[in-house]
C-alpha cells in the first residue's frame, strides 16, 4: 500500500480550502467544499484498503477470503449522506442569495460587514 492516497487526501483538503478562500462565485465555493470533503472519503478508503482483497460482501465468497475493512466503508456512506444534505442546503441558499442580492459573488454580499 503506497502513501499516494494519503498524499492525495491531504492535497484535496488543502486545495479545496484554497478554492473556498479564493472563490468569486458561491456555486464554486460550494463545489470546493465538496472537494474538501472528498479528502475524507479518500483517507477513509485508503485506511481500509488491503492489497488483493475483495469488497466486504460475504454472501457469495468463501469465509476465508481477504476482505477490505467494511467499517470505513460504512463511515464513508454516512459521510456521503451528510455531504448530500449540506450541499443541497447550501445550493438552495445560493439560489436564494442570487434572488435577493442579484449576485453570487461573496464580495457582493454586504449585509454583515462590521
Amino acid at each position: 500500500m503506497s502513501f499516494l492516497p494519503y498524499g492525495v487526501a491531504a492535497w484535496l483538503f488543502v486545495i479545496g480550502l484554497w478554492g473556498v478562500v479564493s472563490s468569486r462565485n458561491l456555486v464554486r465555493t460550494v463545489l470546493c467544499l465538496t472537494i474538501v470533503q472528498s479528502s475524507t472519503y479518500l483517507l477513509l478508503l485508503g485506511i481500509g484498503y488491503r492489497t488483493g482483497a475483495t469488497a466486504p460482501i460475504v454472501a457469495d465468497v468463501p469465509a476465508t477470503s481477504k476482505l477490505v475493512d467494511p467499517v470505513v466503508q460504512v463511515l464513508v456512506l454516512t459521510d456521503v449522506v451528510i455531504e448530500a444534505t449540506v450541499t443541497a442546503l447550501l445550493l438552495a441558499l445560493v439560489v436564494q442569495a442570487h434572488k435577493r442580492f442579484g449576485s453570487v459573488d461573496p464580495a457582493d454580499l454586504r449585509q454583515l460587514q462590521d
Partner: protein, 608 residues
C-alpha cells in the same frame, strides 16, 4: 432505567420529521404542543438519567452489542452526570425557546418546530454518545438543523449571508474532524472513545496522534467560536430568529468546549500526560485571545444581538481557559459558569427579542429611549447584564470564583485579571445598551456602521412595530433569570459540581465504567469556600461594568477624538479589528486555515 437512555435522542428524532411532514397542514396548536411536549419529555428523561447516573455512571449498548474484555464493535451511549446533565440543560433551553416561540412568531409552520427538534436530537446525542464517529455525526446533525434555522427568515438578505457563512465554516470543521476520526481509527482500530483512549495509553504522543488531536480540537473549537475560527458566530447570531439564538449562545457553542474536555480526558490525557504544562499554556493562551477579542468587539457593537453574540465569544474564551487549567476546580468553574451564563444569555436574547418584536429594530441607537414602553424588560436586561458581569453571589460569580481559584492553583494568577476585565466589559456593554434603550441616557446618534446602513436598506415591510408585548415573552426570560440567580446558591450544588469534575478528569475512570462495567464512585473532596478575595474580585468586576457602561453613555467619551499617539494607535487597532469581520466567507476560511495551521504547528512543536 438504562433502557431509557436512547429516548432523549429518539423522541425528538421521531417528532421532528413528523412535524416537518404534516406541520404545514396541521393547525398551529398541534405543532406548538407536539414541539414543546416532545422537548419537555426528552428533557425529563435526561434529568432522570442524570440522577440515576450521578452515583454510578453506566453505558448503554445500542442493540445489545456489549464490550467484552475491553473491546467493542458496538456503539455505546455513555451516561454520566456531566453528559446527561448537559443534555438536560440543552433540553431545558429548547423547551424554553419553544415556549417563547408560542408568542414570538405570529405565523409559524411545523417546519420551524421540526427543525428545532432535529437540532435538539443532535445536541442530545452529542452529549450522551460514547462513540467518536457518532459524536462527529451528531455534530453534523445539529449543525445542519442549525444552518436551516439560521436562514429561517429566508426572504431577507442578511439571514442568507449569515447562514452561508455559518454552514461553510462549520462544515469544514466537520470534515477536519472526519479526517481525525479516520486517523485515530487507523492508529487504534477503534471508534469507541474509551477504547481509543485505552489503545493510545502508554504510547508516545507521535505526530499522527497530535495531528488527529489538533484536527478534532480545531473542529470543536470552531463550534465553540475560538479565535480565529469565530467569525461565523456573530453573523449567525445577528440574523437567526431569537429563539434559535437562545440555543446557539445558551448551549450549542458551549458543547464544543464540552467535547474538547471530554476527548482530552478520555483519549489524549494518557499520551499527553507528560506534556500537561504545554497543553495548559497553549489552550489557556487560545482562551485568553478569544476572551479579549470577544470582549473588545462586544463593546464596539450597536446591533444588540450582535453585541450579545460577541459577549458569548468572550465568555467561551473564559470557559476554554477553565478547561485548559486541567484541574477539577477549573473544569467545575467552567461547568457552573456555563449553566449561569447559558440561562443569563438565553434571557438576554429573549429580551432583545421583545425589542425586535415590538419596535422592528434591534439597533441600540435607533431604540434610544423607546424602551420606556416596556420598563419590565429593562429591569430584566439590567439583571442579566449584572449576572453577565458575575455579580456576587450568584451562579456566574460562583463559576468565576472557581475559575479564579483554579487559575491561582495552577500558577496562572494573571488569568484573574482577564476574568475581571471580560466580566466588566461584556456586562458593561449590555448595561450601556439597557441604559440607552430603556432610560434614554447617552446619545441617540451613534457612529454609522456598514451593517446598520445595510440593515436599513433591507427593512422587511411586513414586520412593522407593534403596540403590544405578550406576557409570555417576558415571563420566560424572567423564569430563566430567576434560575440563573438561585441555582448557584442551592447548598451543595457547586461542591457537587466539583466532585463530578474530579471524577471527569481521572483518565482511567471513563474506560473502567464504559468498557468494563465497573462501579466508579464519586470522589470525596474537601469542601471549598469562596474566599474574601473572590468577593473582592467580584465587586471590582461589578463596579467595572458600571464604569464601562457609564463611559459608553457619556457623550464626550463615547466617540473620543484621539489626540495622543496612543489614542490614535488604539483607534487603528479598533478599525483593524472591525475590518477583519468583513462578512466575506473567503476571508473567514483564510483565517480558519491560518488558525488551524498555527494550532497544529504549535502542538507539533510543544507536545513532542
Amino acid at each position: 432505567m438504562t433502557h431509557l437512555s436512547a429516548l432523549p435522542v429518539l423522541v425528538p428524532f421521531l417528532a421532528g420529521p413528523l412535524l416537518v411532514a404534516v406541520g404545514h397542514s396541521a393547525p398551529r396548536w398541534f405543532n406548538d404542543s407536539v414541539g414543546a411536549l416532545s422537548a419537555l419529555a426528552a428533557t425529563t428523561i435526561c434529568v432522570l438519567l442524570a440522577v440515576h447516573a450521578a452515583p454510578h455512571p453506566f453505558p448503554y449498548w445500542v442493540g445489545g452489542w456489549r464490550a467484552t474484555h475491553g473491546m467493542t464493535i458496538g456503539i455505546s451511549l455513555s451516561i454520566d452526570a456531566t453528559g446527561a446533565g448537559l443534555a438536560a440543560f440543552s433540553g431545558l433551553l429548547v423547551t424554553a425557546a419553544l415556549t417563547y416561540s408560542l408568542r414570538y412568531f405570529e405565523a409559524v409552520e411545523g417546519l420551524f418546530h421540526g427543525l428545532m427538534l432535529l437540532f435538539m436530537a443532535g445536541m442530545m446525542g452529542f452529549c450522551l454518545t460514547g462513540d467518536l464517529f457518532n459524536l462527529v455525526v451528531f455534530f453534523e446533525v445539529m449543525s445542519a438543523a442549525a444552518y436551516a434555522l439560521t436562514a429561517y427568515n429566508i426572504e431577507e438578505r442578511a439571514p442568507i449571508q449569515g447562514a452561508i457563512n455559518f454552514a461553510i465554516t462549520n462544515s469544514i470543521a466537520g470534515y477536519a474532524m472526519f479526517l481525525a476520526v479516520a486517523l485515530l481509527y487507523a492508529r487504534t482500530g477503534a471508534l469507541n472513545m474509551a477504547q481509543i483512549g485505552a489503545a493510545l495509553d502508554g504510547r508516545h504522543a507521535d505526530p499522527l496522534v497530535i495531528v488527529a488531536m489538533t484536527l478534532l480540537f480545531v473542529g470543536f473549537l470552531t463550534k465553540a467560536a475560538a479565535v480565529p475560527m469565530h467569525f461565523w458566530l456573530a453573523d449567525a447570531h445577528a440574523v437567526a430568529p431569537v429563539p434559535v439564538c437562545v440555543l446557539f449562545s445558551g448551549v450549542m457553542v458551549e458543547l464544543g468546549v464540552y467535547a474538547v474536555a471530554r476527548l482530552y480526558w478520555v483519549m489524549f490525557a494518557g499520551p499527553l500526560g507528560p506534556h500537561a504544562d504545554a497543553v495548559r499554556a497553549v489552550f489557556a493562551g487560545l482562551g485568553v485571545i478569544t476572551a479579549l477579542l470577544g470582549a473588545t468587539m462586544c463593546y464596539l457593537q450597536r446591533h444588540i444581538k450582535r453585541l450579545l453574540a460577541f459577549s458569548t465569544i468572550a465568555h467561551v474564551g473564559l470557559f476554554i481557559t477553565g478547561v485548559a487549567l486541567l484541574s477539577e476546580k477549573g473544569l467545575a468553574g467552567a461547568a457552573v459558569y456555563v449553566i449561569g451564563h447559558g440561562l443569563t444569555k438565553a434571557a438576554l436574547f429573549m429580551c432583545a427579542g421583545v425589542l425586535l418584536h415590538r419596535f422592528a429594530t434591534i439597533d441600540e441607537y435607533d431604540l434610544h429611549n423607546r424602551g420606556r414602553e416596556v420598563p419590565i424588560v429593562g429591569v430584566l436586561m439590567a439583571v442579566g447584564a449584572l449576572l453577565l458581569a458575575a455579580i456576587p453571589p450568584f451562579t456566574t460569580f460562583m463559576g468565576k470564583s472557581l475559575l479564579e481559584e483554579g487559575a491561582s492553583g495552577a500558577g496562572y494568577n494573571w488569568l484573574i485579571v482577564i476574568y475581571i476585565a471580560v466580566s466588566a466589559v461584556t456586562g458593561g456593554a449590555v448595561l450601556r445598551a439597557t441604559g440607552r434603550v430603556f432610560l434614554g441616557w447617552g446619545e441617540s446618534e451613534g457612529p454609522e456602521t456598514p451593517q446598520h446602513q445595510a440593515a436599513q436598506e433591507d427593512v422587511d415591510e411586513e414586520r412593522g412595530p407593534r403596540e403590544h408585548t405578550p406576557v409570555l415573552m417576558v415571563l420566560v426570560p424572567a423564569v430563566l433569570l430567576v434560575g440563573a440567580l438561585v441555582l448557584g446558591l442551592i447548598p451543595g450544588a457547586v461542591p457537587g459540581m466539583e466532585r463530578y469534575a474530579a471524577q471527569f478528569i481521572v483518565h482511567a475512570n471513563y474506560r473502567a465504567w464504559v468498557l468494563h462495567g465497573a462501579h466508579v464512585s464519586l470522589p470525596v473532596l474537601p469542601a471549598s469556600h469562596i474566599s474574601g478575595s473572590d468577593y473582592g474580585y467580584g465587586a471590582i468586576a461589578t463596579v467595572g461594568a458600571l464604569l464601562v457602561a457609564g463611559l459608553g453613555l457619556t457623550p464626550s467619551w463615547s466617540a473620543p477624538q484621539p489626540r495622543s499617539a496612543l489614542g490614535q494607535r488604539l483607534r487603528a487597532v479598533v478599525v483593524g479589528l472591525r475590518t477583519l469581520h468583513s462578512g466575506h466567507i473567503g476571508d473567514y476560511i483564510a483565517w480558519w486555515s491560518a488558525g488551524a495551521s498555527a494550532i497544529a504547528g504549535i502542538c507539533l512543536i510543544t507536545l513532542r
